[in-house]
């Protein structure tokens, strides 16, 4: 039997959840024995090259590109996991939710106390740039998500235990210390 295939991505996240994946330390060698990686920043494969069994999503959706990538993951992955607070509830980027986008842009590029070089008061508005959404959306409000691993970042042991359980089909027993929202 061929190995299960994994893909990962970071949407509106800080890559902390990916760092936490690496935090499984030497078990990463075991992981490479157990699975094959496809599209992921871990191996730098940019496009899906085959059907994927487990897609891991870090970060919520703050712009149109995030939505596109997330939908692409849903299309190509049998199982999707929301990894971490940002994917699950928007996380810190969602602090802007409730504040109109225009106000956020104004603060960031025109009126904010650290804005100095933007003397022409230009707001980023290039066709190449993804559009900001009205707010940051949790992934499960955009596509169907199958599993959730909370934490900021999720503990490495939680990621490891969950992946092993998924791959082997063994039941997942989660000790109290592993489920945290911070």
């Amino acid at each position: 039997m061929s190995k299960p295939v994994i893909a990962t991505t970071s949407l509106a996240g800080c890559f902390g959840c990916h760092m936490s994946i690496l935090d499984i330390d030497e078990r990463i060698l075991q992981l490479f024995d157990l699975v094959e990686f496809n599209k992921s920043p871990i191996d730098d494969i940019k496009k899906f090259t085959k059907p994927v069994d487990i897609g891991i999503i870090e970060g919520g959706c703050c712009n149109s590109e995030n939505v596109e990538v997330l939908k692409d993951f849903r299309k190509n992955c049998k199982i999707l996991i929301s990894l971490g607070e940002c994917a699950i509830m928007g996380g810190l980027p969602a602090l802007r939710n409730g504040i109109p986008v225009e106000e956020c842009l104004h603060e960031a590029y025109i009126g904010g106390p650290t804005v100095q070089l933007n003397t022409k008061h230009i707001l980023p508005n290039d066709d190449e740039l993804p559009m900001l959404l009205d707010k940051v959306y949790p992934c499960h409000e955009i596509v169907k998500i199958d599993y959730y691993l909370p934490g900021c970042p999720p503990r490495a042991d939680l990621i490891w235990d969950a992946l092993v359980a998924l791959i082997t089909g063994d039941p997942l027993k989660l000790p109290y210390e592993l489920i945290k929202f911070d």
Partner: protein
Amino acid sequence: MSNLAKFKIDGVECMAEAGKFIVEAARENGIFIPTLCNMPGVKPQGACRVCTVRINGRLMTACTTPIGDGMEIESNKPDLIDIRKSIVELLFVSGNHFCPACEKSGDCELQALGYLYQMMVPRYPYDFPLREVDASSPYIIKDQNRCIMCKRCIKSVKDEEGRSYFAFHNRGDKLEVVLDKVLGESMDKQTAEKAMESCPVGSILVKEKGFAKPIGTRKFDRKPIGSDVKL
């Protein structure tokens, strides 16, 4: 000892003084029933309904229902646990609970209930309401994003004349618990500490005191809420 009541919680024989509220009576018998709006020494109000139990097929709040002789109480049943969990989830989505950036994280009772019930994601959509942070008082910050309106501060933080430092303001979905502008000015540091302690979540913070305890040493880092309830 004629006023002793015998009762059962999930089939376990218990005994307590008749008329005690179920939450207290259960605690004396080593059984934990979760609460949020309830606090020792303050008249219970049955507001948050996290302590929901079933007696004779009816859902009741264990913090306001007195124990009676022969009572049979259901508490740790899957459907009751799911009701409690859904209340916790509702509280999470109806405010803005960014735990990773919250000074109360690890010591927060709402979060601790999320851990207890292994809330991986709330079943309800997030509301992301726009809420204010009031830092005008000299010693405390009142963060409306995290207030669950349990009234614990209103009922327990008072000045010598019995006036509450906190009060309800507005109605309906605009309802909030605010710090009284005038009394807030004169609030001393000790009262500020008491106010922070009275709040089950991170809505009342003492200024310049965030993140005092390292992760791993906070109240609910290693032990679930209710672990102190033992015989």
